[in-house]
Structures are given as structure tokens and as C-alpha cells.
Symmetry: C2
Subunit: 337 residues, 2 copies
Amino acid sequence: MIKNMVGKQTLCFRNQPEILGTGSVVGVKEGKGPLGECFDVVLEEDIYGEKTWEKAETKMLKEAILLSIKKAGKTKEQINAILSGDLLNQLMSASFSARDLQIPFLGLYGACSTMTESMIVGAVLVDGGYADHVVAAASSHYCTAERQFRMPLEHGNQRPPSAHWTVTGSGSVVIGKTDHPYICCTYGTIGKIVDPGITDTNQMGAAMAPAALDTVITHFSDTGRPLDYYDMILTGDLGHIGKDILLDMMKKQGMDLEKVYNDCGVLIYDREQDTHSGGSGCGCSAVTFSGYIFDKLIKGQLKKILLISTGALMTTTSSQQGNSIPGIAHAIAVEIC
Amino acid sequence: MIKNMVGKQTLCFRNQPEILGTGSVVGVKEGKGPLGECFDVVLEEDIYGEKTWEKAETKMLKEAILLSIKKAGKTKEQINAILSGDLLNQLMSASFSARDLQIPFLGLYGACSTMTESMIVGAVLVDGGYADHVVAAASSHYCTAERQFRMPLEHGNQRPPSAHWTVTGSGSVVIGKTDHPYICCTYGTIGKIVDPGITDTNQMGAAMAPAALDTVITHFSDTGRPLDYYDMILTGDLGHIGKDILLDMMKKQGMDLEKVYNDCGVLIYDREQDTHSGGSGCGCSAVTFSGYIFDKLIKGQLKKILLISTGALMTTTSSQQGNSIPGIAHAIAVEIC
């Protein structure tokens, strides 16, 4: 019997670590999408006045972190640690933004699952009394991700219908505690890696859906919560194809979650924006939570949500060496308490 | 006043999270070095029977993790989470080894500071009652690191005297609790990024030494411990040059730690092994702790040590874009309790 763990994989936050504020900075395309009005900052140009895409992403992440601190009513000096990550090699955006902010830094990498990984570790630090306030953040940028994982944009290569569009966006939350807790992190389920054996890097939804299923099943089993507990269950970036696969797999498990289930990668773009299977990247769930969902929680339009960021743990090297794409999904429950 | 934090950056583990067992797997060169006899497994060939260096590194890390679990007297099923990382893009070795082990996984990246980052987060999970047993691990491989960060080995390029030699090694510890605590984690200091502006990727010791200094000063200031408290203070991979720089900088701060201070990158190779400035890579402090130091703690030859893994948070992209190399250092105090 572990004091603050239920079941096999789910951490229990008994001391009401709260989300005190969020920040979201997105690119031009995300600003034009259905959630455009929910974000704090929509860039006029994705290069954000910098000389390289990577420097633009670093600036976006820094801006999102500073916004979340400001909206939480805190100062930089009150933040004990930044927990953040991105998709770039050696966490370039996360490292360089933390350098500029001069706040102790723990770098995390879970591919597109990074936002919930950061939030879980952040909630542990605050819940356990190891920190007063932490920042949990994640970031991605279409132009940095394309040239690192796929093709330089100048190639103009064609994308198959199952491809995703990496979200240009940085999302950040401040986790802390007050005397009057309102929006709290209650449970965090750490995911196992599930590898369905997919090798096609343009089938990310299919590669990640089984990991999402595993985490959903584990979360409900660990917490003993009924299937209708949450107002909304959101995966990170399964996209249109992965969302359908997950719904099918859940039905086969006797789980009917269609009414409350959606995917950040599906929500963030219109079908007409030509992103094919939808959004991806760790910025996808980061900005959808920080911008869209958190606002609904504040307004009381949502009361209990489960955010499941999903990650495809592949690298260009592993793909070149014929490896399949392992999936992972971490879940965090955020509720009005 | 935060319950389990002292000073500005140091977490306090009050519930005696213990290191129950360690595992270390190293390459041929490391086996021939001064610490060779301390390691559990010394490879006969660095390719470890695999087809690629990356697959060899994955196998090494998996082996080190399994060894640590076995030596802790536990089974795979008793481990609640693996916290690990490596130097490869998208944490390839850490992800693929966690996939094979089917244990919930949190990927961490702190460049060569990853081992202490993993140990700090692992100690938090166990100390705070969020896990019974966790694995904290880190890995690097000379051949995977060279071709990713520098030149393919086939180039045969010449290395300047200030260059480091990436350690081929995987180290793992199991953190848990027993009724009779013996070797415990007591404090963890999360590092801030310090960037001295160095752009030469062959001057890693100089790039990381100021971050190590910052963490040493912060650790002693936060804990209020006297400078002569520890039997041994070990940085991760400053190497010969970085060690000298740190000693100089400490002296300027009025800190005379020469008698107890050393560096894993200095200890792991003989001068005659032609590694120039010494060892580096996150495997360097991981195997030096898991193999050499832990054995000395068990035998009572050391009683109180401070391990400060040091990381250079640079990427090939950031270097190409003219960025300097930010340094970071996380410290963990391990003591016979």
C-alpha cells in the first residue's frame, strides 16, 4: 500500500495542488483555427522577429511561461522550478528559455506527451511540499519539427492524408497552492510504452492510440472512477485517424466514451485548414489545455477533465534502423475542487 | 516556508528514500580504466552483439536496469516507474529500453546531468509516497554520441587536447524504502542554467564548471552544512580542465574543497588511455556512482557523498546557429543514515 498511489500507475494528489494560471502562445495557423480566440498570444508571423525557427520557438516558450507566471499573480522569483520540454534534439527551446529565465530547470522528454509528464511531476513537487510554485510547460513549432524530423520546408514535399501538422504553440501552467483551492490536479497516471509495431512515420495516430487506450483503462481501473465521471476526456494528438481508432478500441473494451471524448489535434484546426489528420506536437495539448480547457474550467463550463497527452517515441535514427514507433500516454485529472 | 525544501533550490528528503541496489554496464575502454573492477559488466565489444551502436546502448541500459532491480532484491513488477535518459536524440536508448521492460516511464533530459536529475525526481517520488520503488538511470555510448554530436567515427578526425571522451556506460539505481534504512538520499539541489558564453564544443569542462560552482554554493548555502561535511564531492564530467577551473573558482569564493573534491570524468580513465581531458556523457557519473561510489558506501569507506552531475545543454543546431553552450548541474546527497 503506497500512501499517494492508487492501483498500479496512478499518483494521487491529496493536498490540492492548484493550477494558478496558464499562458499560451500560438502561430498564425493555430490563431485562425477554431480555438484561435482562446489563446493569449497569436503570432503575426511564425518567425516571431527572430533569425531562426528555433529561436522563435524559444521566444514563444519563454513568453508563454512568463504569461502563466503573470496570470498566476506571481513573480519569476517565486517559481522554484521550470519543468519543460519540446520536440527538438536536446530540448533546445526548453533549455534556452530556462537559461534566459534563470529559474532552476528540469528537462523532460516524452515526445508529444511532454505536457502531461511535466504537469504530473510538477503536481508531485507541489503536492509533496517540495516546491511552492512550479512551471510545467511544453512547446513545438511546425517549422522546427519539419526540418528536424521530416523534410526541410523548402523541399515542398507532399504529405499523405494520414500525416499530422505539428502545432506551432507553447503552453505553460503554474502549479501552486492557495488557501482557497479552485482548479486542482487530483490524479496523474504515468504511462507504459505500448508499441503496436507501426513503422510508418506518417501514421502517428495509429502508433499512439494503443498507448492512449492502455492509459485510459489503467486510469479508470486505478482510481475506481466510473466511466461517466469526467465532463471531458482529451487525448493529445491522435488526430482524426487516431481518434477513430481509439474510439473503436475503447468500444471493443466495452467503454463507451464517445460523448465526452475528443482529441486536441482534432479540435485545434478546421478541416478546411488542410492539416490532413489534424494537429500534433507537444504544443498541441499544451496550448489546448492552457488556452481552451483552462478557460472553460475557470468559467465552470467544465468541472472535471482528464488530459491524456500522447507521444510517439521515435527518432530519425530509430526509424532509419528499422525500428517501430513506440507510443506512450500520460494522463492528469484536473478538477474544480 | 516550504515543508520539504530548504533555501532556494534544495529539496529535503525526510523519509529516508534508500538506494537499494545499483547496476553498471560499461564498454571495453572503461573496463580497462582505473575503476574497471567496480563495474558489474564489462563488454567484450562495444557493439554488444547488436547491429547498431544505438541498439547496443539500448541493450546496455536495459541490462543495467535489470541488474539494479535484481541486486535490490526486487522484481520488475515491483518497480512503479523508470526515470531515465541518455544523450541521443529523442532519448532513443531510454525509450526503447523502457519499451522492452514494460514499466511506466518518465523520460528526462539534462545532457550529462541526467543521472542526478533522475535520482532527484526518483527520490521525490519515493520520499513523498508516490511510489514504492523506482529506477533512476542514465546512459551514454562513445560511438552513438560521436556520430550524433561530432563526426562519424569513420572520419578519424583529430581531437583537440581539451576534448572529452564520451563514456560507454549505463548506470542504474533502485530507490525504495525498507524498515532498516542504510544508504539514503537526503538532499537534492536542482540546478539553474549558467551560461559562461563558451561556443567551442571542445571546451565542455569550461562550459559546465560555472554551473557546477553555482550548484555547490547553493547546496551548502541552502542546507547550512559546513564545507567539511562530505567525505567526497564528485562532479560528473568536468574532466581535467573543468576540474581545475572549478577548483580555482571555488578558491576564489573562499571554498577549499580540494581534499574531498574529484570528478567522475577524471577518475574513470587513466591519463595513458589518451582520452585527453577525461570522460564525459551521462553514463560517466551514472556508472561511477553505481559501480565505484555505491560499493564504497556499502563497505562504509565513504559515509557522506555529494554527487553533482554536470550537463552541457547544447545541440548541433544551437551550435550551428551561433549559440553558446549553457551549463547545468544537479546535486544529490547520498549518505549512510
